[in-house]
Assembly symmetry: C2
Homo-oligomer: 294 residues x 2
Amino acid sequence: MSAPLFDRVAIIGIGLIGSSLARAIKAEGLARTVTCADANPEHAERAKALGIVDAAGTDPAEAAAGADLVMLCVPLGAYGDVAAAIGPALKPGVIVSDVGSVKQAVIRDMAPHLPEGVHLVPGHPVAGTEKSGPEAGFAGLFPGRWCILTPPPGTDEAVTRKVADLWRACGMTIERMDPAHHDRVLAITSHLPHLIAYTIVGTATDLEDHLRQEVIKYSASGFRDFTRIAGSDPTMWRDVFLNNREAVLDCLQRFNEDLTALQRSIRRGEGDALFDLFTRTREIRQGVLEARQA
Amino acid sequence: MSAPLFDRVAIIGIGLIGSSLARAIKAEGLARTVTCADANPEHAERAKALGIVDAAGTDPAEAAAGADLVMLCVPLGAYGDVAAAIGPALKPGVIVSDVGSVKQAVIRDMAPHLPEGVHLVPGHPVAGTEKSGPEAGFAGLFPGRWCILTPPPGTDEAVTRKVADLWRACGMTIERMDPAHHDRVLAITSHLPHLIAYTIVGTATDLEDHLRQEVIKYSASGFRDFTRIAGSDPTMWRDVFLNNREAVLDCLQRFNEDLTALQRSIRRGEGDALFDLFTRTREIRQGVLEARQA
């Protein structure tokens, strides 16, 4: 068996993604030691009890001390604080990376707190479920999915390759992207869908009690797919919207225009316009199936 | 073995729901003979070849002749024409039912064409997938789901019970509802979600070519769930929106108000408002899980 990629990996935040990564690292033997920290002491203890990490606590600096790779798996809003906390504990030459759904914010929030000689390589494994916490993770979350890396200009190529190797060993396919472009693509493909799902499920929560119960009862007819998405972690998603504001609002603007047009078609009884749209969207579904992302 | 519920069942329209029903009827021995008609001769032939019906053709009158139960499984826009075609062929005392997603339109479109002595019992098995055609059906579509019947006032109780018995034998649980109430509940739980999914996927189809390819590539992050819904049959859904216009537009109005409020919260950076909404929607998800509709 070849040597592990890393001697010591620290995972900060042992939720769905963090615990899935810990499991994949253990399963593939990608590090000699895995430590973790989580602000929630129960999550830290649970991770230890599950045997997916070698040490766990609530102090990110303690977890990060001596690590070759520190992977942030916390909500975006916590990046600044975590960076400030771990900064002094980081060993020279360490790689710091993350799994966040917004990439421009990473450098902005973390770089000011990291000492010289630290390699910051933001990343985004595009995979997930609506579940949260260390129990929700599984190593099978990653295979067949994409991982997008957004190393800033001037990043050591060998360092980026090492982060890529980690995710590739977890089963992912690697892409590199400009962080602004990442944030625009993900605004459409992920942030807008979540925003819409939260809204539609929110609309249902405001219904009279009896009607709301019926909506749940008959949710198999479409609504339940939105509840799944809208069941995602509130803190994580609050931070996504606050940190990718411009791109999300821009998408939302386009969506609103299209919704207004569709509303008008329904009001006017324009069957052909509806049929044309529904035929075009079916082709996109076909594209998703062909890309094996369904 | 007890006698089948019906001597002869005619299924008009052998798509996803029609062919699933045919399979369930065969599997459970619910009719001595099952005939079908489909406007698409290939679908009719395919149903025959699959062995899920005893006879198949393109003429609904021919399929309906001599049947004890005629089940319409065609898009809502075809109800009037089908009723006019089968009317003269129906045997006295026949039960005519349907599986459509809108219920007020059924009586309006069909009743004028049906002769005296025909029992019209509209129904809606709340189950489906985004797939279409006779190959897409499966008897397992129904178990654990709800079937809503909306018999008009004065309907013979024994007749309604017989339709209920059919769906119950397919594994469904039966509810009765006023058709206007049905259309309102389904507007929220099914029609609005489809409308929104069609819109968001439509918004993506209008993107520049390169960006659209990326949206498909990274669709696992949320978008793909919408493409599934937006991959549903265009004719069926055109007809749903045209036939439940008022209730759909009313829901859409509420949705739009909520979306505007959320948009403002994002623009203003109101994290607490976002967190509160996302926490409430998570509770609805919990409700769906507890109702075993997930």
